[in-house]
């Protein structure tokens, strides 16, 4: 008898009770906060190497496989769930609190289930549950845009799951095993599974679900969304594709192209969506390098990203909750009335920018050092450019346009206490890991021998950041910085939102015309047949005429005579 329950079970059981507590909001608050705490205590009892297996249709499936990688992501998701749950405690009936809370807890549980899953079938089940549970965090916003964005989000993720399942089936056919371990790009199975993971990890051209859906989520829902889906994909890539060269280049593209979009994006939560793809790019690149330092860097960057990106999404969620706005063109000057939110947002901005003493400084440096150690001399400057780009959009743009810049005239208040508390926990965690990286080193999959705080490294990072900020400041002063304009920017989702729609409309028209022509031909033929039949069998038809009995006797006599004649011949 193991001492711990499967970690996801705490969340699923907890979610079952949440709807029953809708009439006692205070009890519900307590219950919700207890779920990740009890979950974390339970998960801490799971020893490294523990496995829980079950039999299904002749296959041995592994419901829980606890190795260092899974346990690290388990800790991360418990922490992420705790922060996001505290952040959403204020939700009321009008916010569809029951639906949001229940789906969020199931969603967090699914993420935890996915990282502990030891085989493809279990992984697939949690993979799809992630999609199905999280879409309610978008739909509960109830705007027409949110409803259609949620539907697109769901479709993309279901396809991702089906692709993963197809890959798993091919893999099982080839190897006879459903175990989820290192895959690599050998054969069809490797590619299919990578494609399934790639959709969730927002690989280039497969990324637009994130840009499309995250900004349409509820203020609290998007915080959950930012914590889990893509990080599960990063985990899956780290397990299945460590050291796969293609990921280095995919990661480099991911780190670079979104920063251009982030400069011109007006919706600040969508800017954070682009920023998220940029950060996942660093992780994917690290996984591609595949050395111990690189993998440690990639997964610790995933850990840190949940904290600092969560903090930034929380601060923008707080702004949205209090003002109803997230567009740079509508905001500005909020530091006067939301000083705490502004300060916490700046902590998130400093963290994501990898300023020394903040957490990304540690994890991003590991990835950059690993690139240099392995002599990826062409990729390193690309990633350095992407690092500088982060400062521009997440380090400056987000806090600047929301809280400073032109005074929008909006006067509001600080958000509810629980939002501030959750942001506070996130900010403290960002700083704590930045100051004491050993906190994180202890739970990384490989032993760590890395010192981020050398004089040389601190100096070069500060130089890069300061002059990147200098460039932004100069462009502002010279008034050539792209202004905040209410707009949308076309991205890969244009293909299925516009181009495919047009193709369907056009081909639909052509097919419709062909169909109409075919039908009229068929109907014409049928009418012709009917007319002919009517002519023959109708009231005056030759076959329907009433013949006198005498003529029948005559004909019978003639036939009889013919028979007799033939008989005698």
């Amino acid at each position: 008898m193991p001492s711990s329950l499967p970690p996801f079970l705490i969340f699923f059981l907890g979610a079952l009770v949440v709807p029953l507590l809708s009439r006692v909001p205070r009890v519900r608050m307590l219950w919700l906060v207890l779920i990740p705490i009890v979950g974390a205590l339970n998960a801490m009892g799971i020893q490294e190497g523990y496995e829980l297996q079950y039999e299904l249709l002749g296959y041995t499936l592994t419901l829980v496989r606890a190795d260092r990688l899974a346990i690290m992501f388990g800790h991360l998701f418990h922490l992420g769930a705790f922060i996001a749950i505290v952040y959403s405690l204020h939700l009321k009936k009008g916010d569809h609190a029951t639906v949001q809370h229940t789906s969020a807890v199931v969603y967090a549980g699914s993420a935890i289930g996915a990282v502990f899953a030891g085989d493809f079938i279990t992984l697939f089940v949690f993979w799809e549950l992630l999609a199905v549970s999280s879409v309610f965090l978008i739909w509960t916003r109830r705007s027409p845009r949110a409803v259609s964005a949620g539907m697109r989000y769901l479709l993309v993720h279901i396809v991702s799951g089906v692709t993963l399942l197809a890959g798993a089936m091919v893999h099982a056919h080839n190897t006879g095993s459903l175990d989820f371990g290192f895959m690599g790009l050998e054969g069809l199975a490797g590619w299919l599974v990578l494609l399934g993971f790639g959709v969730k990890a927002a690989f280039p051209l497969l990324h637009s679900w994130l840009i499309d859906a995250y900004p349409e989520g509820t203020p609290t829902g998007t915080v959950f969304l930012s914590a889990f889906t893509t990080k599960v994909a990063v985990y899956a890539l780290a397990r299945g594709y460590a050291g796969t060269d293609a990921l280095i280049y995919i990661g480099a593209v991911m780190a670079c192209f979104p920063i251009f979009y982030a400069v011109i994006e007006n919706d600040l939560r969508r800017t954070l969506g682009y920023s998220m793809i940029n950060q996942i790019g660093f992780m994917v690149c690290g996984i591609g390098v595949g050395t111990h330092l690189a993998i440690n860097g990639a997964v610790s960057h995933a850990f840190n990203d949940v904290l600092f990106k969560g903090l930034l999404f929380m601060s923008m969620g707080a702004v949205m909750h209090m003002t109803g706005k997230t567009k740079a063109s509508d905001l500005g000057g909020l530091y006067k009335t939301m000083p705490w939110t502004a300060t916490l947002c700046i902590v998130g901005a400093l963290s994501i920018s990898a300023v020394p003493l903040f957490n990304a400084f540690v994890s991003k440096s590991m990835i950059m050092s690993a690139l240099l150690e392995e002599h990826f001399n062409w990729i390193w400057p690309v990633m350095l450019f992407a690092s500088a780009g982060v400062v521009e959009h997440a380090g400056i743009k987000i806090p600047f346009f929301a809280f400073f810049a032109h005074d929008s005239g909006i006067r509001t208040r600080e958000p509810p206490w629980n939002m501030l508390a959750a942001m506070g926990v996130g900010a403290v965690a960002c700083l704590a890991i930045g100051v004491w990286p050993e906190l994180l080193y202890g739970i990384l999959p490989h032993a760590v021998d890395y010192e981020p705080y050398t004089a040389s490294h601190i100096l070069t990072q500060l130089q890069l950041l300061a002059f990147a900020i200098g460039a932004v400041a100069a462009f502002h002063l010279w008034k050539i910085y792209p202004a905040e304009i209410p707009s949308v920017n076309l991205d890969a989702d244009w293909v299925y939102r516009r181009a495919a729609a047009r193709v369907v409309r056009f081909t639909g028209g052509a097919v419709g015309a062909a169909d109409a022509a075919f039908r009229s031909t068929v109907v014409g033929t049928v009418r012709g047949v009917l007319r002919g039949a009517f002519r023959a069998h109708g009231p005056r038809g030759i076959l329907a005429r009433t013949w006198p009995a005498g003529s029948m006797v005559l004909w019978v006599s003639i036939i009889l005579a013919a028979f007799l004649l033939l008989e005698f011949l």
Binding site: I259, S329, E392, T460, F467, I469, G470, S487, V488, R498
Partner: protein
């Protein structure tokens, strides 16, 4: 357009912040010659590589983004229209 709205940070403060920032940048450049930097990548061997890279990189980023905006920017209700 938001250009007509007043700045939220009073200009004397903005001026002071800019001056402090410029001083920090200057100190960081001077330190480049004082601290013996650890060099792994050939580009790092250039003096003031990082400040140059940061400034030029972001300048290119912003300028290219302005071109990108001409290509991809549409009205806010673009997708709602059909």
């Amino acid at each position: 357009m938001s250009d007509h709205k007043p700045n939220s940070v009073p200009s004397p403060w903005a001026g002071i912040i800019l001056i402090v920032f410029a001083v920090i940048c200057a100190i960081l450049v001077v330190l480049d010659f004082v601290i013996d930097r650890y060099v792994e990548h050939p580009l790092e061997a250039w003096s003031v590589f990082y400040p140059l890279f940061g400034f030029v990189g972001i300048s290119c980023l912003i300028l290219v983004s302005k071109v990108l905006r001409r290509l991809v920017m549409r009205r806010e209700d673009y997708y709602d229209a059909e």
